[in-house]
């Protein structure tokens, strides 16, 4: 993974020194909150409902064990012994004291982590495929490019006050695990006539006005990447609306101006600025970064231990069936560690769990850890022979839940339990859905099903692309939940459709139960997933299940 050089260390040290002084001036009363707020947001520090929240960037979701142990140590020393992994591959601390934040940032800097541009109207943490460098279906590892973009965008002087926040995602596989079509810019790596490049997608996003991104350039050679990105963001910086926060994202710019006009402006700007970029220096830097992302040396191992455990241990078998993904090397597997134990908070990990993950990554995983946008943790390179030992160790810390991709593997934003913007709670809804279907022992029978929950219209919980999406709202002072069906965040990206009237807090789990039972009754067989059944049947049978029984019970 990327290793900081002297420039990076010096930059971060200076930035942290500045912020420490800014915090001190705020505490002394020399800065008002209005003056301080943009400064703290530039450094990832929010004020939430009950406390401050510090959002730490995990660049493209990659961590080493040393960094994970530092995250655990910070959770113990400065927070309440846990952290919350988010849908943007970041980690959030929910309880830091303002006066401790400079020390937290210094501790993070020791391991090459920071909270810069995790908030504010800037280019945010670049996200990527959490199986990068490991998946059998991969064309190229997207992480070096993501790192190059991180370096280009960090503290970029032209892009510190954009009309609105700006999110970039990169994938190196045809199978889109990075939701590239729901980002301000999505980059899909591909090769044309042997030349590596990108399909550039622009103007995707969820939130208040969900949009699937459009292709801005069907092939962009790697050498043109930075000037082209700069042209896109510069065009948006001028053209994007600043009169209305809700119309300020680039998706609205593209929608209002049309993709053709945006393309013309971007291409014109690109032609203008490309000569100012030193293509040779960029290529050299990318080559330098690529050497840091060399694939680990994988050794052939025997499959016997795996086979023995698989046939003897039903718990291991269930876990292996759901939590493993094919590695490009047949003797290895990609392990997803579920942070969705039934009844627990999606995405939360205790400091003990973080330390165990770090230990396992070191012992069995070539020192690599990934955080997924689905709020799970990945060990990307585990020898199949070691899987029984990994599973056994995970069980000790409650990390062996066999539910990846199933109904309890729910994305949930923090919602009104923490977030100042939320209009309703998300976490308890996720907890109750998970425990409900676990108690019925239906989860594995139901099969692949993605439920995604947002506690407000900003859609951090990606509800629009959930097979079942749940949106929590405040209707006349009461929590109220709308359901969408048929969303999909993959390469076949599709926005879910609203079923109709929403449900009260105590009615949302029964409503989800009715949808799931309608699926179980109507599917052709177990091989037809919920999403496939929905696409075949349309919304009608699900709406009938949702509302007809309710009408029958009405007084």
């Amino acid at each position: 993974m990327y290793i900081y050089d002297d420039f990076d260390h010096a930059f971060l040290t200076e930035r942290n020194r500045q912020f420490r002084a800014q915090v001190q001036r705020r505490i002394d009363g020399a800065l008002t909150e209005d003056e301080f707020k943009p400064l703290r947001l530039m450094n990832g520090l929010y004020l939430q409902l009950h406390a401050y929240m510090l959002r730490v960037a995990i660049p493209y979701g990659s961590l080493n064990p040393h960094q994970m142990r530092k995250l655990a140590a910070i959770a113990d020393r400065f927070d309440k012994g846990y952290g919350h992994f988010t849908t943007r591959q970041n980690i959030q601390y929910n309880w830091p004291r303002l006066s401790d934040v400079p020390d937290i940032l210094d501790a993070l800097a020791e391991v090459g982590l920071h909270a810069i541009q995790t908030s504010g109207n800037t280019i945010r943490n670049v996200t990527s495929d959490h199986f990068a460098g490991a998946a059998a279906d991969e064309i190229a590892d997207p992480r070096p490019v993501a790192e190059l973009i991180r370096q280009w965008s960090t503290d970029h002087p032209e892009f510190q006050f954009l009309p609105r926040k700006f999110k970039v995602a990169v994938t190196g596989s045809e199978i889109d695990r990075a939701v590239t079509r729901a980002h301000d810019i999505g980059l899909r790596m591909l090769r044309r006539n042997g030349v590596p490049g990108f399909e550039v997608i622009v103007g995707g996003g969820l939130g208040r006005t969900p949009m699937i991104g459009k292709v801005l350039r069907d092939f962009l050679p790697v050498a043109d990447l930075l000037p082209y990105l700069e042209a896109v963001v510069a065009t948006y910086n001028l053209l994007g609306r600043r009169d209305n926060k809700y119309k300020a994202r680039i998706k609205i710019t593209v929608h209002e101006n049309g993709i053709e006009r945006v393309r013309d402006l971007v291409e014109a700007r690109f032609t203008e600025i490309a000569p100012q970029f030193d293509a040779a220096a960029t290529a050299a830097q990318l080559a330098r970064i690529e050497t840091m992302f060399k694939a680990p040396a994988l050794h052939a191992t025997s499959d016997l231990a795996y086979q023995a455990a698989y046939s003897a241990d039903p718990l291991f078998r269930a876990w292996a069936d759901t939590n493993l993904h094919p590695h490009r090397d047949a003797d290895h597997a990609i392990v997803t560690i579920s942070l969705k134990a039934h009844g627990e908070t999606p995405g939360d990990a205790t400091s003990d769990q973080m330390r165990l993950i770090a230990d396992l990554a070191e012992a069995y995983g070539h020192g690599e850890i990934r955080i997924s946008h689905e709020q799970n943790v990945i060990l990307p390179h585990v020898a199949r022979a070691d899987l029984p030992a990994v599973h056994k160790a995970l069980r000790v810390q409650g990390l062996a839940t066999a539910n990846v991709g199933l109904i309890s593997d729910i994305i949930a934003c923090p919602g009104m339990d923490y977030c100042a913007l939320a209009t309703a709670r998300s976490i308890p809804v996720a907890q109750e859905i998970a425990t409900h279907f676990d108690a019925l022992k239906l989860e594995h029978d139901i099969g692949p099903l993605k439920i995604k929950i947002s506690g407000c219209i900003n859609a951090c919980g990606h509800h629009h692309v959930g097979h079942i999406g749940i949106l929590g709202l405040d209707r006349a002072g009461v929590e109220y939940y709308q359901i969408t069906l048929g969303g999909d965040g993959t390469e076949d990206a599709h926005l879910g459709e609203r079923t109709g009237p929403g449900f009260a807090y105590d009615q949302i789990v029964p409503a989800i139960d009715r949808i799931v039972r309608a699926y179980l009754h109507q599917r052709i067989d177990r091989n037809e997933s919920f999403l496939e059944a929905y696409r075949r049947l349309g919304a009608a049978p699900f709406k009938a299940a949702l509302y007809e029984s309710e009408a029958a019970n009405a007084p």
């Binding site: 909150e33 409902l49 309880w95 405040d474």
Partner: protein
């Protein structure tokens, strides 16, 4: 029909800890809604808010919020304020932890 005018309290977050606080009758800050200064007319409420807003080295984000006055003290009207008073529902952290320690 004009909307019912409810009594209000001034609430904010403590500058250092971020804890939810309320302006109290002695013009200090309390973490307990029961001890909040209840403001029954708009003028008093606006004066209290202006005073609270000026105390920039103590609190962040002051605003007025409606309460219902009951025998057990002021109660939040909106569920958001109920969560702010209580703490998150997934863990006994924040005010719940403080309440457990105090008990």
């Amino acid at each position: 029909m004009p909307r019912e005018t409810l009594p209000q309290v001034v609430t904010a977050n403590a500058l250092i800890e971020g804890d939810v606080v309320y302006l109290s009758a002695d013009h200090g800050w309390t973490r307990h809604l029961q001890q909040a200064l209840v403001l029954t007319n708009t003028t008093d409420a606006e004066i209290a808010l202006a005073e609270a807003d000026s105390r920039i080295s103590e609190v962040v984000g002051c605003y007025l919020t409606d309460v219902r006055v009951t025998a057990s003290g002021p109660q939040p009207v909106h569920f958001r304020e109920d969560f702010r008073r209580r703490g998150p529902s997934n863990y006994a952290h924040g005010k719940q932890a403080a309440a457990a320690t105090a008990a």
